[in-house]
Amino acid sequence: MNCTHFEKQVWDYLEGRLSASERAAFEAHRAHCEHCQRVWESAQHTVQALRRLPRYRPAPDFRERLQARLRQASPKPARPRLRLGWKPLALAPALGLLIAFFWFYNEPQKNLTNLPPDAVGTDDYTEMCVQLHETLETAEWSPTPAASYWVNTGYTR
């Protein structure tokens, strides 16, 4: 046993937590090491002094004052605790991705399949619709559409 080991074991020795062999080694070291003898003495004094420290006690009327305060308070009813812990939080990103996935695939898409064959982009299609409405609004109503209607829309009878 060396001095460092001795200092580590000094509290366990004082509390009787060492085995018989450890105790023997501890005492043998103490017998021939002046430094550790002093360590042991100061440790012994420390524990004794700590256990003999004066104890504080509350004032005699403490209990009455406490009683008065308790009468004003009422016990809170027991609440069932939600023991969810951190695990649901770990699922949050996965849930977010799932929602994003469904949103992306269910977002109403512009159905471009009915576009006239020459309408290549949405801008062209919008422009064509505007022109068509203008034509219809300005033209006198006729059961037969004007020739430009068929030309612009590309529809046939």
Binding site: R38, V39, L50, R51, Y56, P58, L70, S74
Partner: protein, 200 residues
């Protein structure tokens, strides 16, 4: 076993708002908790407010007390948390010097009572030395950090086991042991210096 069963019955009665049962709990633990709080805060005046708060919280929280920890462990946990809250509030305020450090004579004027556990020795010289040594230890204890101090007080003054301290403070048993070792070593250094005749 009988003690546990008696304690369980007491708790059950207190949960049914039996005032006398709660008064019994106060009688059982007020002194222990008060001593711990005074030692933690170093101030008997604040300690009484904190002790009232401990029992108030216990009274209000008793319906939720599930009995997994012992009543003593639970109460010390409440007391410890309130002491830490108090420390934090104090840190935020302008730093003031403890009444003890400024006016050691006034420290005894508070409402608290002292209880000396068998300090009388037949040799007057030895009594003086004991008293001096105790003062050294008191000062060393005051200077410890709350983390070290709490473990030391609960173990050496209140006699709680490693496991009970672990539950009260919410720290692993290994941490309890290492903090206790550190705390005692800190005090031991000052005791050793005193024994060598150095000014501490």
């Amino acid at each position: 076993m009988e003690t546990i069963s008696a304690e369980t019955q007491l708790i059950e009665r207190a949960k049914q708002q039996d005032e006398s049962a709660f008064a019994q709990i106060v009688n059982l633990y007020a002194d222990k908790l008060y001593n711990y709080i005074v030692r933690m805060l170093g101030n008997p005046h604040d300690a009484e407010d904190v002790l009232q708060e401990v029992f108030l919280r216990a009274y209000q929280g008793l319906p939720s007390f599930d009995g997994r920890a012992s009543l003593s462990t639970w109460l010390f946990r409440i007391a410890h948390n309130l002491c830490i809250d108090h420390y934090r509030k104090q840190e935020r305020r302008v730093k003031t010097v403890s009444i003890y450090q400024d006016n050691p004579d006034e420290a005894d004027e508070g409402a608290e009572e002292w209880e000396f556990p068998d300090t009388q020795t037949p040799d007057p010289m030895q009594a003086v030395l004991d008293r001096e040594l105790q003062e050294v230890v008191e000062r060393a204890l005051e200077s410890l950090s709350p983390k070290l101090k709490s473990v030391l007080l609960l173990y050496d003054m209140e006699g709680l086991s490693y496991e009970e301290i672990s539950q009260s403070l919410g720290i692993p048993m290994g941490t309890v042991k290492s903090r206790l070792h550190l705390a005692r070593s800190e005090i031991q250094k000052k005791v050793a210096a005193y024994l060598r005749g150095e000014t501490v």
